[in-house]
């Protein structure tokens, strides 16, 4: 009974000990950032919106599905959607009711449908040819209403929107993960080593150049058929084969470097030269931004089989320049700080200094680039699928739904809903980026 009072007392004690008006002197950087971010109301709302959209994407199967969530058929209870979800994740589940019955016409003892009882590629023949959400629909009851209408062949637009959310979220996550890994690595190399920090002997450089073709041969050329056949099977097996290739490639290069060390030591070769890492990386970035990204992605996607995963990977592999530049700038600053000097004087290896000390302290500005990058990636992907490039026929994406509006100008719902979804998602990520920029900007620190 007296718990509330106790709580109030405790709260009061806290308040008395730490008056709200006074900000503690030694607040952590994270706390300052959090406070600054929370002050920015649009950014906070954007974050909530992102969580909401991500939840829709995560549970798309449960929100819109042609199969029942749960049903009782001939005395047995089934969970078809759960089964689909688990099998989709690679698990196993005993029986599939779908092989026995047609989902929509079966006589169930008891059934719970998903909120939107239509699949993303299920065609409702009774409501084909652009049924309007406000017009007449040939459905049994409101339960089966097409809330956002249908397209030419009777696919439910609402269901497509929900499943498109998942694609949009995946595009953001996958492409930005790839871009972050490449961008942070390249930026860190350029920023930390600069143009004069890596000194190496001519033997090293020569052996490096010589081992590149050999490493390429054993990493990729010998295995080119394994990789090619991997693409025929699935993208995952291809990526796995490519990964093995990269490991072999790296191993041979590293072996070459050890050989070079060995040679320099035995023959006592002197004379070192700088490796201008910064110039090399900056030049590479310059080249990459000279090529219009959209056209480059279109060219690459044109020569491959349509696959949404491939689009994500390519967007990631071409959009890391912003992240790299942010990281580079931060590391240029960080590398001269005392604690890095301390790490170096303690005899830590360069790699340990970079990855354990330098990079973790320069990641926060990268978050800004990532937030804006997600918005850009979603925009690029939806435009590509709007053009019908790189998307499998059975996958519903926002861009693809929007492109249907060009076929029938009368279908206003097809022009509005997907475009609005893209707009909202891009806006919340942009707001998020702005909020982070403000929160992470040390000039605003009070």
């Amino acid at each position: 009974m007296d718990t509330p009072n106790e709580n109030i007392n405790q709260d009061l004690e806290v308040v008395v000990k730490n008056p709200v008006t006074k900000i503690p002197e030694n607040q952590s950087y994270g706390a300052i950032v959090k406070r600054q971010f929370n002050k920015n109301r649009p950014a906070v709302w954007a974050l909530r919106m992102i969580v909401f959209i991500a939840t829709i994407g995560l549970f798309a199967d449960f929100l819109a599905n042609e199969k029942p969530l749960m049903c009782k058929y001939e005395g047995k209870t089934f969970f078809p959607v759960v089964r689909e979800y688990i099998v989709g994740l690679g698990g196993s589940w005993p029986t599939e009711l779908g092989n026995i019955v047609d989902w929509k016409t079966a006589k169930y003892d008891y059934v719970i449908w998903a909120p939107i009882p239509y699949g993303q590629s299920e065609m409702d023949y009774m409501n084909a040819n652009y049924v309007s959400p406000t017009g007449e629909q040939n459905v049994e009851s409101r339960r089966w209403w097409h809330w956002l209408g249908t397209d030419e062949v009777g696919r439910d637009v609402m269901s497509g929107m929900i499943h498109g959310t998942r694609i949009a979220m995946m595009v953001g996550v996958v492409s930005m993960s790839i871009a972050s890994v490449i961008g942070i690595f390249m930026g860190a190399m350029a920023g930390y080593f600069g143009d004069e920090k890596i000194k190496t002997s001519w033997v090293n450089i020569f052996l490096f150049l010589a081992s590149v073709p050999i490493a390429f041969f054993y990493g990729f050329q010998v295995r080119s058929y394994a990789i090619g056949d991997g693409f025929q099977n699935s993208l995952f097996s291809a990526l796995f084969q490519i990964l093995i290739g990269i490991v072999i490639f790296a191993a041979i290069l590293i072996a070459g470097q050890y050989l070079a060390k060995f040679i320099t030591r035995i023959f006592k070769i002197k004379g070192e030269t700088n490796v201008p890492v910064d110039i090399l990386v900056s030049r590479f970035i310059e080249i990459l931004i000279s090529v219009p990204g959209l056209l480059l992605i279109m060219s690459i996607v044109a020569i491959a089989k349509p696959s949404i995963m491939l689009v994500m990977v390519i967007i990631g592999a071409t959009s890391w320049t912003g992240i790299a530049r942010f990281t580079r700038g931060e590391l240029l600053r960080v590398r001269n700080l005392e604690y890095i000097e301390a790490a170096q004087s303690l005899g830590y290896s360069e790699w340990r200094t970079i990855f354990r000390h330098a990079i973790p302290n320069s990641l926060s500005p990268v978050l800004i680039a990532i937030a804006f990058g997600v918005a850009g990636a979603i925009l690029t992907e939806s435009f590509l699928s709007f053009l019908g490039i790189g998307v499998e026929a059975e996958v519903a994406t926002w861009g693809k739904l929007l492109s249907l509006a060009r076929k029938n100008f009368g279908a206003w719902w097809l022009a509005l809903a997907p475009g609005f979804a893209i707009f909202i998602t891009v806006t919340v990520y942009n707001l998020m980026g702005e909020g982070l920029t403000d929160a992470l900007d040390p000039r605003l620190k009070q």
């Binding site: 060219s299 100008f409 707009f423």
Partner: protein, 508 residues
């Protein structure tokens, strides 16, 4: 300054080289046989025909691959395994070549694979004189399909089955016929049999003498300038001399971008039609965007935190996030048809189809203007909002500076403070932005051109993607890269104009 621009243009060269390398790599990785695409399946008709047709098809194929420059090795050097011979590129047909590569990868003994391949070809030729009639029809069909399969398969099981099928066809089917002229009994397949046995023996020899270790050893071969990339880039026509030989190519740097796979039209003429349109649209749109947004940015920064500022800032932010292709789609759906009663603008293209040939200048201008309003609007609003926001921000930062306060304290009129002291300094970041804006605008014009059916570079590139018309696609890619680099260079030059403190030449 001049020296700086010259150095920058020199810097273009390695960048461009890498871009051409990249596109060349893409064209090599592209699936499908470009020669067959170009011949538009003309070969399919010849496949089933008699000797002359077949040979004519083969000749056309070789001529086309010479014309496309595909009769050469790919690059200046090649990195292959020891097993792979350097002369493999001489096998014209891409599919057959790829299949031979597979065989080499499996057995590693080109010395045995080569005679096997040649004997299959010999077998193919030996079938030509056999007349097609009811007696030989089935046998010929099995043999032809078998040869086709031998040329396109490398799997041992499949090849064994094919060989067995072919052998059965030769041996079992009665083919003894009476020659119409000499009245002598003649077994046509009897002549084929020894050649077939040769094929079989050669295949057995491949399997019997594998040298797989050769596939595990790298070999670097120097080829020289007689390669596809060099010919594509620099051409093989002599410089500074006119040459009448049409098979010699000018190369990319001499303006010979190859021919469209679809209709054989030179890519250079396609680009010549499309480039001015894209350039024109972009120049108009950039000019409008800069003129309007610089003014609006200054205006807003002077009225910071007023109602106008707050409302316009929100509107600008929303506009900034609006995806261009959505706005364009909405504009087309709602504003160009009578579906919603708002038939204000023409829907597609640059000019009306029914525009008379002898239309006066004003009619043409009116028609083109009506077509161009929506595309220009969609192209402009994105960069407009972006520049305005940046301009406002940088103007606010400058207005906080001490020298502005000094200028105000001196009693200078407001106009002079704003435009003479603050404006010029706040312009610098906005100009640097031009460099990053330009690539975005090129990509943006793809969006606009595709949606509004404007025949510019973006649309040409998009259609090339759909049709897998690689020469056009890669030319568009390289051209847009060049345009982007020029845009960045212009931004750098403008930068020094706006800020005299910045000098690109080192002072001694």
């Amino acid at each position: 300054m001049f020296k700086y621009i010259l150095t920058r243009i020199l810097y273009f060269i390695p960048t461009l080289l890498i871009i051409t390398l990249l596109t060349f790599l893409l064209s090599q990785a592209a699936p499908g046989d470009p020669v067959e695409t170009r011949l538009q399946g003309g070969m399919q008709g010849a496949q089933g025909g008699g000797m002359s047709e077949k040979q004519a098809g083969e000749k056309a194929y070789i001529e086309m691959s010479k014309k496309l420059g595909l009769d050469l090795p790919a690059f200046y050097f090649s990195l292959t395994s020891q097993a792979e011979p350097t002369e493999l590129y001489k096998i014209y047909r891409k599919k057959e070549r790829e299949n031979l590569e597979r065989l080499i990868n499996r057995y590693g003994n080109w010395d045995y694979i080569n005679p096997y391949y040649l004997s299959i070809k010999k077998l193919e030729v030996s079938l030509f004189p056999i007349p097609r009639d009811t007696n030989t029809y089935n046998g010929l069909k099995v043999l032809k399909e078998g040869i086709n399969s031998l040329l396109n398969n490398y799997d041992d099981n499949k090849l064994t089955i094919d060989l067995a099928n072919m052998e059965a066809a030769i041996n079992t089917i009665s083919t003894i016929r009476i020659d119409s002229v000499t009245q002598i009994e003649k077994n046509y397949f009897a002549e084929v049999l020894p050649i077939f046995n040769e094929v079989k023996a050669n295949y057995a020899a491949i399997k019997a003498n594998p040298s797989k270790w050769k596939t595990k050893l790298p070999a670097i071969n120097w080829i020289g300038i007689g390669n596809q990339y060099h010919v594509w880039l620099c051409g093989n026509r002599p410089w500074f001399k006119s040459s009448e030989d049409p098979s010699l190519r000018g190369g990319f740097i001499r303006g010979d971008f190859g021919e469209s796979y679809l209709d054989g039209r030179p890519v250079s003429s396609i680009i010549k039609d499309a480039l001015p349109i894209t350039m024109g649209l972009n120049v108009v749109s950039v000019t409008i965007a800069y003129l309007m947004s610089v003014w609006l940015g200054v205006y807003l920064s002077k009225r910071k935190d007023s109602k106008v500022d707050r409302v316009l800032s929100i509107i600008l932010f929303i506009l900034y996030s609006l995806p261009g292709f959505w706005v364009a789609t909405m504009a087309i759906v709602y504003l160009t048809t009578n579906e919603y009663g708002l038939d204000w603008f023409p829907t597609y293209g640059l000019f009306s189809n029914d525009l008379a040939d002898d239309a006066t200048f004003w009619e043409v201008l009116k028609d083109g203007g009506a077509h161009i309003i929506l595309p220009i609007f969609v192209m402009t609003y994105g960069s407009f909002t972006y520049i305005t926001r940046q301009m406002r921000g940088s103007m606010l930062a400058v207005l906080k500076q001490d020298y502005i306060r000094t200028a105000v304290a001196k009693g200078l009129p407001d106009k002079v403070v704003t435009w003479k002291h603050a404006f010029r300094n706040s312009l610098i970041p906005v100009i640097t932005m031009f460099a990053s804006l330009f690539p975005a605008m090129i990509s943006g014009s793809v969006v606009i051109e595709v949606i509004f059916s404007i025949p510019g570079m973006g649309r040409v590139g998009y259609e090339a993607v759909l049709a897998r018309n690689y020469p056009v696609l890669f030319t568009v890619l390289i051209f847009s890269a060049v345009l982007t680099m020029i845009g960045i260079l212009i931004a750098d030059v403008l930068y020094s104009v706006a800020d005299p403190r910045i000098s690109f030449t080192k002072k001694k």
